[in-house]
Amino acid sequence: MLETAITLRNVEKYYSDFHVLKDINLTVRNGEKLVVCGPSGSGKSTMIRCINHLEEHQAGSIHVLGVELNDDVRNIARIRQSVGMVFQQFNLFPHLTVLENCTLAQTLVSRKPQDEAESVAMELLTRVRIADQARKYPGQLSGGQQQRVAIARSLSMRPKIMLFDEPTSALDPEMVKEVLEVMGELASDGMTMVCVTHEMAFARSVADRVIFMDHGRIVEENTPAEFFDHPSEPRLRDFLSQVLH
């Protein structure tokens, strides 16, 4: 088994004239939990969206589980099969039930028979403690419940890596905990995780490593203890003083 899950080398990304990512170098080991934080507009979401090619990088290289992300659509498909993603806005399919949300990709992409896909989906919905709502539609659930369904939906493709793009930012405060709990359990099961989040308590207890981005660069990279207790970078100290109250 490969030691590294994700490697970004000298990655550059532009939105026309705007330089979003500047010389990003990052390695994520298998089973590692990496938390990415930084002020808005720092490029953190863009960076993790490059990892499953929702955004295209213009220079440098990205390898995921030994496969290079380039223009070859087969490589992109292979990588997406092994990388799950959870979005800030959940992006559940509103016209499908919770159960159908979790079986759609299994039947379309993995060509699994319906009953097999459903048993996988029910197992995952049980894991995120929402199996009792399987026949409901996303619009009938709370934000926290929807985000847990979205996690189950990503897990239905049996990914080896999970990307979280501010999974709790769109939630009411009282629902953040239930989502973070599910993510914490996923972490202790050994999933490789990259989370963009401002939940510093989560970062401290779950992450193996925390990186701080500002203006498209990674400016600090450390263990959670060092990161929070002895931040070396002044911009990080500013940022932490704002989010840690």
């Binding site: 929702l54 799950g84 992006n91 759609l104 990709a105 379309l108 409901k136 493709m157």
Partner: protein
Amino acid sequence: MHNKTKVSVGNRLVTILVVGVVALALYPLFRWAVLDAVWGNPGPDACNNASGACWPVISEKGALIIFGRYPAAELWRPALASALLLGTAIATAMPRFWNKALLLTWIAAPLAFLTLMGGGVLGLPSVPSSQWGGLPITIMLSVFGIGCAFPLGILLACGRLSSKPVIRWVATSYIEAVRGVPLITVLFMATFILPLLLPSGWNISAMVRAQVAIILFTASYLAEIVRAGMQTVSKGQYEACEALGISRFETYVKVVLPQALSMVIAPTINTFVTVLKDTSLVAIVSISELLMTARQALADPVWRTHFIEVYVFIAVIYFVFCFAMGKWSKTLERAYIFSKGRE
């Protein structure tokens, strides 16, 4: 919440006033159509002194209005053919029948319709399409028109939103060009100009040309409605599909279009209603649909003074179909929007 105990006196007065005005306005119509009307089949003279409607004209001319000049001995054929087509349309309207068998029905029903109408096989005497007329033609033009224009409209909408410039350009030009001319012009062009453009020896019947014109015309309208629906689907839906590895085609079929179409149920069915009513325009290119056969029935000097009754009769037929479609629209909206907590 509506509180019954607090309906004010003013509200009650308004209600009484409105009901009164409506009743007063409708009473003369009621007198004409029911109280003073002549019923049954007593012959044309019975109506001479009547101040109300003369309904015997309908029992006398009903077969001509509904079936046109189709041979009288064979009327069961257009009746059965229309029933088959309507049955298919009604089944298609109900989501519980949306399966592969329905697709096969959509191939079988038109074939059965044309076979029954045209004959010449299975021992059925041949009836040329110039003798077809009335309600079966209106149903045929509407059901084929809607049934073919809808998928074509979806393709055009997807084309207009395509990332490939050539496809986008072709779809956009088509939509803008066809939408920019009146249906009558399209019908005239299909009837008089198309034959000039086709190689000599090609002879497409007037009926087919009119049908094609209706399909092509309707598709451009539906394309814009479907496109509007597709633009309500957020970018996040596409991204979720991409992240799950779902192909572009399946993203459209399973995720984008179901949501897009459920957002535009009302305008889509509104267009269907328009198609049904616009089939009456083919009368100008000499096709005997319902309005035309009604006019033919009035050519009889004995009954020609009772044109109002005849027009009321076909208006009621149009109304029944259009009203049913309106109800259908409401049912679909309830099933696809409100029950899913998305209002």
